[in-house]
């Protein structure tokens, strides 16, 4: 056929089936390019929205590597004459990208110090050997730690603790399935709940802070964020434990022998080393920097100072940071933030916000409630099928253009992006516990939908009762 060998045709077919979402994105973008722009939307805004559609399809379909998606965004922004090459380059790098880069590197530095064994000992000392208390300890510690050092750092440190307890209980996976599910989800959901607590809990919080400041809508400090978000984090912990316990109640109500074996295992590590003490001190310094210096230096630069100190003191080697840092994600978020800024600049974000409000007004009249509903539900759903940080990067400019108090809407959106309970792809922590092989995809829905509803309800109460008291 057309001079192609069967092998060549087979290879082409293989490429087409694997890259079908790339082809779909291309066809849809061509179609959108040739339809006339709506009257209320600028041509640049129209072309920006085409890029948004392409990016959403490519990220969801994973048709091409993430760095390739990032490059496509930057290329299209210039080719479609949305901005100049220098303008695109300027919008690509920001403090939020520095923060994402720095926090991913800090995660590698912290995890490699072997502090997880001390953490395990601390948790077990606090909780004792009753399973429900261990689950409570896992959720609470994961939530509180991840609010400061980021969710996947905590998940990477907590995973071996949970797996050791499970393996010490029984090697038969059928016997320990519910116990494993309970402990692993306690980590994943604890981390998700915790990530809302402070700006450093997740890159998406910093992206939102960056948008608010970039668009001239105000500013929110590290401590302000804590005042708004931390109470909700603390309230969510017991509810999450109850939901997890009643969904995955295990047969083993006491983990006596498993806990004893874990204690023996972790006490072998001896006293805290100088490097470990230095690591903790550096992180405390970074935290203080975020609290007191971020208004002057930015959250990203403070995180990079932390990485610089870890490298300078020889606590981590560059090759380890290089190997375990997801450079593709950093580049993608840089490009996604650039796209978000172009959405604002070209009026695309405002147009989408107007259309969403107008469309929903046919069902509900209350615009204030509509803004809240769109920011929470759209973010909550997209975060579970896309990824939480990508969701905020794309939706942030739209939400901030819906009117109302941008700080409140920005916070609401960032917090809703932590409701990543329903799928494996929702967040790295969900993926980390899934990689243990002990939880199935269907397990995520079992407790996830209950946590999702509980979290939305709590967010509604906090944002309508508590937040107005702060302003």
């Amino acid at each position: 056929m057309l001079g192609f060998s069967n092998q060549a045709i087979s290879n082409i077919l293989y490429w087409v089936t694997r890259k079908r979402w790339l082809i779909v994105a291309f066809v849809i973008s061509l179609f959108l390019f040739y339809i006339p722009s709506p009257e209320t939307l600028t041509p640049e805004g129209h072309r920006t929205l085409i890029i948004v559609v392409i990016v959403l399809i490519l990220i969801m379909g994973e048709a091409i590597p993430l760095p390739a998606v990032a490059m496509l965004i930057l290329i299209l922004e210039v080719i479609l004459e949305i901005d100049t090459p220098n303008g695109v380059a300027t919008s690509f790098m920001s403090d939020a990208v520095f923060f994402i880069m720095g926090s991913l590197m800090l995660a590698v530095a912290i995890v490699s110090q072997g502090l997880d064994k001390r953490l395990a000992l601390g948790i077990i000392k606090m909780t004792g050997n009753k399973t429900w208390r261990i689950a409570f300890g896992f959720v609470a510690i994961s939530a509180i730690l991840s609010s400061f050092i980021g969710e996947h750092t905590v998940a990477a440190m907590m995973l071996p603790v949970a797996l050791t307890l499970v393996r010490n209980t029984s090697k038969d996976q059928k016997v320990v399935h519910r116990l494993a599910t309970l402990l692993l989800f306690s980590i994943a959901y604890g981390c998700a709940i915790g990530s809302i607590g402070t700006p450093s809990g997740g890159g998406r919080n910093v992206i939102m802070i960056g948008y608010i400041s970039e668009f001239g809508l105000g500013s929110i400090s590290y401590l302000d964020w804590i005042k708004y978000a931390y109470p909700m984090l603390l309230i969510e912990i017991p509810f999450a434990v109850l939901i997890l316990w009643f969904t995955f109640r295990p047969n083993q109500t006491i983990l006596d022998s498993a806990v004893r074996k874990l204690k023996v295992n972790v006490t072998k590590t001896g006293k805290m080393t100088g490097n470990q003490i230095m690591s903790i001190l550096i992180f405390v310094a970074v935290f203080l920097g975020w609290v007191f210096l971020s208004p002057y230096l930015g959250l990203g630069i403070v995180a990079l100072i932390g990485v610089f100190l870890y490298l300078s003191f020889g606590l981590i080697e560059w090759k380890d940071i290089n190997r375990n840092t997801n450079w593709g994600v950093i580049i993608l978020f840089g490009a996604a933030i650039s796209l978000g800024i172009q959405m604002k600049e070209t009026g695309a974000a405002e147009w989408v916000a107007d259309q969403a409000i107008y469309g929903m007004q046919m069902i509900v009249d209350d615009v204030g409630f509509l803004r809240w509903f769109i920011s929470v539900f759209l973010t909550g759903i997209l975060t579970n099928i896309l990824s939480n940080a990508a969701t905020v990067a794309v939706l942030g400019p739209v939400v901030l253009n819906m009117g109302g108090d941008p700080i409140i809407l920005g916070l609401t959106t960032s917090i809703a992006s932590a409701f990543s309970y329903l799928t494996i792809v929702a967040s790295p922590t969900c993926m980390i516990i899934h990689s243990s092989g002990l939880v199935k995809s269907s397990d995520y829905l079992k407790a996830g939908w209950k946590l999702f509803i509980m979290s939305v309800f709590l967010l509604f109460l906090v944002s309508t009762i508590y937040w107005p008291m702060l302003s």
């Binding site: 293989y14 991913l104 995660a107 071996p160 050791t164 593709g328 792809v425 790295p428 993926m431 243990s436």
Partner: protein
């Protein structure tokens, strides 16, 4: 020859491993066992890698290592590989990251030469295709899957013969069913089938199926060639000329107590992609193991 056996879990992969190893032994083939874990989202690859590296500090295995360990012990317990005596189970073996999505287990002594153990993560078709290309395997052996189009994709995109181990029961006495026609791959398929039949001492049926009662001369010649080959090979056999629909007739003869061996279709990949092929349909609808020889 080189065989690749894909396994998924301790619970469901025993028949695949058992039959795969028996067939590999018949061919005196080198065997590599591969476990393909689920795809990791591109957003989380480094984070998952970090968590998995941290597990090693706790002497905990990553997902899939336990399945490979089980497979390794199964091979030793069933004398498919020799036990050197000084090796206890999986102790001392090393998991080495070769690529982002591929790890190899290096076994002690000469076991690495006897059997390869590979751990992969990602889309199963892509991973098996890459592994087959990398290792130049002749046959890929895999258990039946409930996933739609799995068999189609295996046959369409993997550049080796495909043996789908469906509904295999060790205690059952199987027969061999060879599909014979004038297609170029038939001779290779008959040779493969006879080798297995000789090794397992299976009664063999070589069937030539025509859609009409009037058999083409090429079909008759192919059947005669198969008859001669089977007679010389010394296996107990019969040759049959049947008319009817290919898939229905093959499955009616095969029921659940045959091992089917067929040559792959020579149709254009484009036609096979949209319309399928006879071997594919037999493989999808049969209730017994089936080998499609490329």
């Amino acid at each position: 020859m080189k065989f690749l056996i894909a396994i998924g879990s301790k619970e469901y992969s025993e028949p695949t491993l058992e039959l795969g190893m028996r067939v590999a032994k018949a061919f005196n083939a080198g065997v590599t066992i591969v476990y393909v874990g689920e795809k990791i989202s591109a957003f989380s690859t480094s984070e998952v890698q970090l968590a998995q590296e941290n597990l090693e500090n706790w002497e905990l295995d990553r997902q899939g290592v336990d399945v490979l360990e089980w497979a390794y012990e199964y091979l030793i317990n069933h004398d498919y590989i020799t036990s050197s005596g000084d090796i206890e189970g999986f102790t001392g073996e090393k998991l080495v990251q070769i690529d982002d999505d591929r790890c190899e287990v290096y076994l002690e002594g000469n076991h690495t030469q006897e059997v390869g153990l590979i751990l992969r993560n990602g889309d199963i078709i892509q991973q098996l295709r890459d592994e087959v290309k990398r290792g130049e395997f002749d046959v890929t052996i895999i258990g039946a899957s409930k996933k739609r189009r799995m068999i189609h994709d295996l046959i369409q995109y993997i550049d080796s013969s495909i043996f789908v181990v469906k509904n295999y029961q060790r205690e059952k006495h199987y027969k061999m069913l060879l599909a014979v026609n004038d297609a170029p791959n038939t001779k290779k398929a008959v040779k493969y089938g006879v080798r297995v039949a000789q090794s397992f001492d299976l009664y063999t049926t070589a069937v030539t199926i025509s859609s009409t009662a009037d058999f083409r001369e090429d079909y008759k010649k192919a059947s005669a060639w198969a008859d001669k080959f089977l007679r010389r090979s010394g296996v107990e056999y019969e040759t049959r000329l049947e008319h009817g629909k290919f898939t229905e007739t093959m499955n009616a003869i095969a029921t659940d107590n045959h091992i089917i061996v067929m040559g792959s279709s020579t149709k254009s990949p484009l036609v096979k992609f949209f319309k399928g092929s006879k071997p594919l349909k037999v493989c999808e609808e049969c209730n017994c193991p089936a080998l499609i020889v490329k």
